[in-house]
């Protein structure tokens, strides 16, 4: 499914659900207000609390093992990434996390972050690793998680990576000649 098809389908679904949405709008409105207040309270600029929960839950499912980085820290990095991203497509990454969170409810399951680790992995196995057309877009979410986790200094050290300036025999630029 393409983004445009998804947009068109979402528009059709939104039209069909408009009466219900209007009737329940006070509830949604309050939910959105609370989410925004929660974001402000947590000092985030892009990630709404439910999106942050999803990201952390996805991180746990993807990287759990001998991780050395707190997943809240990963969420903080992702928040910086999402808020600094200068792109008309930037909203898609935030939407991706919302879709990820509530996609399981389409099959009458609990939201992604409310599921246990095994259930989360089953969901990922069933819908994301096989890249089924409906959920293919969500596979992109794993790239977000990996970007935020493995770009951190602590995670890189755990991999055994030594930054250039700390390598033995690393010649400073001045010794090689400055380019004007």
């Amino acid at each position: 499914m393409t983004w445009n098809q998804l947009t068109a389908l979402s528009a059709i679904a939104a039209l069909a659900l408009l009466p219900i949405a209007l009737l329940t709008s006070p509830i949604w409105g309050i939910w959105l207000l609370l989410e925004r207040r929660g974001r402000r309270r947590r000092g985030r600029r892009a990630l709404l609390p439910h999106a942050e929960r999803t990201l952390v839950a996805y991180c746990e499912a993807m990287i759990r093992g001998d991780q050395v980085l707190g997943f809240a820290h990963v969420a903080e990095r992702m928040d910086r990434f999402l808020s600094a991203e200068d792109s008309p497509r930037g909203w898609r990454n935030a939407l991706l996390l919302t879709l990820m969170e509530y996609a399981p409810t389409l099959v009458l399951g609990l939201p992604f972050s409310r599921r246990g680790l095994a259930a989360r992995r089953r969901f990922v196995d069933r819908h994301l690793t096989g890249a089924s057309p409906v959920f293919r877009l969500l596979t992109f979410g794993k790239q977000l998680v990996r970007m935020a986790y493995y770009s951190d200094d602590v995670a890189r050290q755990q991999m055994g990576f030594v930054p250039p300036d700390e390598r033995r025999g690393h010649a400073p630029v001045a010794a090689r000649g400055k380019v004007r």
Binding site: W3, D86, G90, M147, Y150, M159
Partner: protein
Amino acid sequence: MTQVIETDFAIVGSGAGGSVLAYYLARASERVLLLERGRRVEPDDMHGDELDSVVKLFKDAGAQTNLTADMFIIQGRCVGGSTVLTNGACFYLPEDCREDWANRGFDLPADALRRSFARTGSVLNVAPLDERCFNPGAERLRRGMQAVGLKPQPFLKNFAHCVGCGYCNMGCRYGQKLDASRTWIPMAEAHGCHVRPRSQAYRLRVERGAVRELSCRDLETGAWFTVRAKRYVLAAGSVASPELLLRSGIAKGRAGRGMSFNVGATTVAEYDEPIEAWRGDNLCVFSMHDEFTVEQLHNPPMTFALSMPGWYDRHHRDLQRYAYLSSAGVLIPTGNYGRVRLSPLWRVSRRFDHAEVEFTMSDDDMALARKGWKLMAEVFLASGAKRVVPPTMRYLELTDRSQLHRIDEALRWQRDIHGFGSAHPFGGCNAGDEPHSTCDGSFRVRGVDNLFVCDASVFPSSIRVNPQWTIMSVADYAARAIGDVSVPDVIEEGPAYELRRQRGTTEVAR
């Protein structure tokens, strides 16, 4: 009141094409305005945090994909464009591609093009990569290539004094890569070219067969401004140049068509002992195959994690073996059946106001890709790797040549490829005399007198090698046609010239 800027030449995009053109035009005393959507990023602004670099330097923070979201399209968005993100690899345009283009009506005479390559090469300081900068994985891969009958060669690179940090794709924080932001752009500015970062060229207004003005937005303030120029040049790359034409209603039915790519994905191999392939330049040796190019490519941790196949603990565990791993890729040239078009809702909201790329590999190209990845696995096994992980969405591990056929089974469709993408999009404003050609052979947009395109979007087909030097050389060649300016035989300015003077030589390395 909207600000109006009057100039002789308005160039949209400061990458490989726009920067070269800006230099030659400014040198000829023309008034030149160079518009760039991204920021100006200096080496001191880069600190080795890959996530930070991706946000600062990459278009859409590296998240630009095709419509079906199964292919990354990596482009730069900063002063200097994608040249800031390259590994510094420089290739001549393959002769068979030049001949193919000539048959399609885009004729670049061999002699003139050779002179253009020589001139741009002298500005970029193009020379074989110093073997002292090789990463430890390069020697192994070279042996593997030789064992399967390939001929490995060191890359030609546009470096001054390479530090061998391996972060080329994140911008050179040591300022040693002589990309457009270190060469052509400061040289153009020294001749009076005005560079305007964070400026989005939004729409061209055409009247009576000529562009009258260009509406632009200052992305810092949100203010609109208008550019009025004698000539306009689009050099914003293979996605943004056709996007601007489409949004302006120019070249309808032609702009955006005929797009091709060098596509690829990374194959990873593990050795018995730690090799620490991250010590050194990340792109050291390559080998030309008849149909594609095999290139060693070892990325820093974040990018490596993105390209490493696998899920969950296995992926995490594999990455803890980073010191034992080495990676490489194959550049697969595709046919020109891709297409750029505007999002159907682009008029509704700024959120939808962008270009979309339609591209799914044909069966023939998919077969070629499988052939390339099988060869890549064979090279790694021949180099002594104990296991090879090809770029498959479902994890696959090969330990023996007899298992190569499993790649055919695992990679049936484009969506089966892990980390699939391209940093080399071509076409979209194709030059030539084909029915879908947007430009004529002299880079002019058909039907518009004062509008030209000068970037990889004019390429009628994929060139199967890293394109920055070719784009610059084609821009060098185009300067006469676009600007009616004479181009000097030798360029005696810029950092590479200063380096040669310091060394007391006028010889240009080859």
